[in-house]
């Protein structure tokens, strides 16, 4: 059985697609057969970040509606041969994702893949609900700021009440916190929440901290998952996160210089 992992956040622009691309690439590079599905119907981005936008013929919605087979729609990554991308449609509506249709596709993928990564759209509407519904695990991507943390909290509540696991009364969806765009200097100046602040509020295990970096922007413009930038902080941070996802113990990095967080400054007069 495949592990089904949703990458979600509630808030937009926090790095869900970047994370989906890097986590799936990282899993595949370790030899696990991995597929990453773009659930953001109408705002197709994943194929750009994976640099396969010119190879899209059929998409997720075509498969759901029976217009193409899964094998016709899956795109094999050119860099990592155990990685596949299931792109989404740019022209359809989110409602094209039906619960039954998504289930059929996920079941079929489960037969051959080790990991299914679901790249969720922002918000808590239909597309986001479909992306998280079948998940076994969730990577909650959060930026170190109050509104992003609030939205992540909302998504965590939905995972624990509206997912298939919740509805069936099975073990709850396993939650991982991934803090992205982290800047220790700005944390020190009290402009950002610290890792400790976010962990304290959300109360879920920390999968990793991805430092704010120009490399992330550059690589996504080039269609390169940032995890392949192995020299960069952000690339290494994603590699750590993948290792932890697979059960390895790795010390947290890239969160240094943290002395006083936003909250302690605000409220204790730091």
């Amino acid at each position: 059985m495949a592990r089904i992992i949703v990458v979600t956040s509630g808030k937009g622009g926090v790095g869900k697609t970047t994370t989906s691309a890097s986590i799936s690439t990282g899993l595949a590079r370790r030899g696990h057969k991995t597929v990453v599905i773009d659930f953001d119907v109408g705002l197709r981005n994943l194929d750009l970040i994976m640099n396969c936008e010119r190879r899209v013929v059929y998409d997720f919605v075509n498969v759901i509606q029976g217009e193409a087979s899964l094998n016709q729609a899956l795109i094999r990554d050119k860099r990592v041969d155990t990685l596949y991308i299931l792109p989404t449609s740019q022209t359809r509506e989110k409602e094209a994702l039906t619960k039954e249709g998504v289930e059929k596709v996920i079941n079929e993928l489960s037969e051959t893949f080790d990991y299914i990564i679901c790249d969720s759209p922002a918000g808590i509407e239909h597309g986001a609900m479909m992306a998280l519904y079948y998940a076994d695990e969730a990577i909650v991507v959060t930026n170190p700021e109050v509104s992003s943390v609030r939205d992540s909290d909302r998504i965590l509540g939905i995972l624990q009440s509206k997912s298939r696991r919740a509805e069936m009364g099975q073990d709850p969806v396993k939650e991982h916190l991934l803090l992205t765009r982290y800047n220790p200097d700005r944390v020190n100046r009290g402009e950002m929440l610290s890792v400790a602040d976010v962990e304290e509020i959300l109360a879920i295990p920390l999968l990793g901290v991805i430092p704010e970096s120009q490399v992330v922007l550059n690589s996504s413009n080039q269609g390169l998952p940032v995890i392949l930038e192995t020299e960069s902080d952000a690339g290494q941070a994603y590699d750590d996160a993948v290792a932890r996802l697979l059960g390895e113990e790795r010390e947290q990095r890239f969160m240094t210089n943290q002395k006083k967080g936003f909250f302690s400054r605000m409220f204790k007069g730091g």
Binding site: R150, D151, D153, R154, L156, G157, I158, Q160, I201, A203
Partner: protein, 256 residues
């Protein structure tokens, strides 16, 4: 669903689903005089609580004869005591027909099993009950305090946890944007960052306890304070909140 949404015509009203917690009277058998006496005793225990409340007659544990069920007498007795009977829950077809005749609403039973069949299947039960007569109805409700609802996971933004009868105990944070409500007390072994409403049916003795007061709103029996008014006293520390002379009072737990 789409016709009202798309037509754009504004109607005089809109139907919405609503859930309201109500008191159910679990009827075991019906004897007119005894019914009124037991009812009066109950009301005397908490006159404020019972005044003008809606009431459901639950027939799921009714063991008497259907012919003894006189809904007009039940309604009349309740009316004399300022209680409004609005419907019945459960019961067999005959009983429900009688209730309908008395203009009562019919609600599905929680057990889903037909009492008539149940009695057939287990006749010894039906015989057994009359041996312990009057006290059953009275003592059942007084000694069994409603159990507390215990929640051990964080209550997240957008979630609502409701304890319609007793206390609510939460062994985790209540996050900003979350709401917890209880008829009785609310205990939070963690920070309270969202809203907490205790004594929602008017119990003024209800209290709220939390390990760190960071709430958006706290309310006891309808008296509330918002975050702005909570900053000066006990903010971000362990407190209890209670109602004294119609005022919400926040007391640090170490000085309690």
């Amino acid at each position: 669903m789409s016709d009202t949404a798309t037509s754009g015509v504004k109607h005089g009203f809109q139907l919405r689903s609503a859930s309201v917690s109500m008191t159910a009277l679990e009827l075991y058998y019906f004897d007119d005089d005894e019914f009124e006496e037991t009812l009066r005793q109950k009301i005397n225990q908490a006159p404020g609580f019972f005044r003008d409340i809606p009431l459901i007659i639950s027939l799921e544990k009714y063991e008497g004869l259907s012919t003894e069920l006189d809904f007009f007498k039940i309604i009349g007795t309740c009316r004399r005591n300022n209680i409004h009977v609005i419907g019945v829950r459960g019961g067999n077809d005959d009983q429900r027909r009688l209730a309908r005749g008395a203009a009562l609403a019919l609600m599905p039973g929680t057990g889903q099993r037909d009492r008539a069949h149940d009695a057939d299947a287990a006749p010894e039960k039906a015989v057994e009950l009359p041996v312990s007569p009057t006290p059953t109805a009275a003592s059942k409700t007084t000694t069994d305090a409603p159990p507390a609802r215990i929640i051990s996971h964080p209550v997240r933004s957008g979630q609502q946890i409701h304890a319609p009868e007793g206390d609510l105990i939460i062994l985790a944070p209540v996050q900003a944007g979350a709401e917890v409500l209880a008829a009785g007390n609310i205990h939070i072994y963690g920070p309270l960052r969202g809203r907490a409403l205790a004594g929602i049916h008017g119990a003024e003795s209800a209290r709220i306890f939390c390990q760190s007061l960071e709430a958006e709103l706290v309310s006891i029996a309808g008296h509330y304070k918002i975050s702005e008014d909570l900053q000066d006293n006990g903010w971000r520390s362990a407190v209890q909140i209670q109602l004294k002379d119609d005022l919400l009072v926040v007391t640090p737990l170490d000085k309690a």
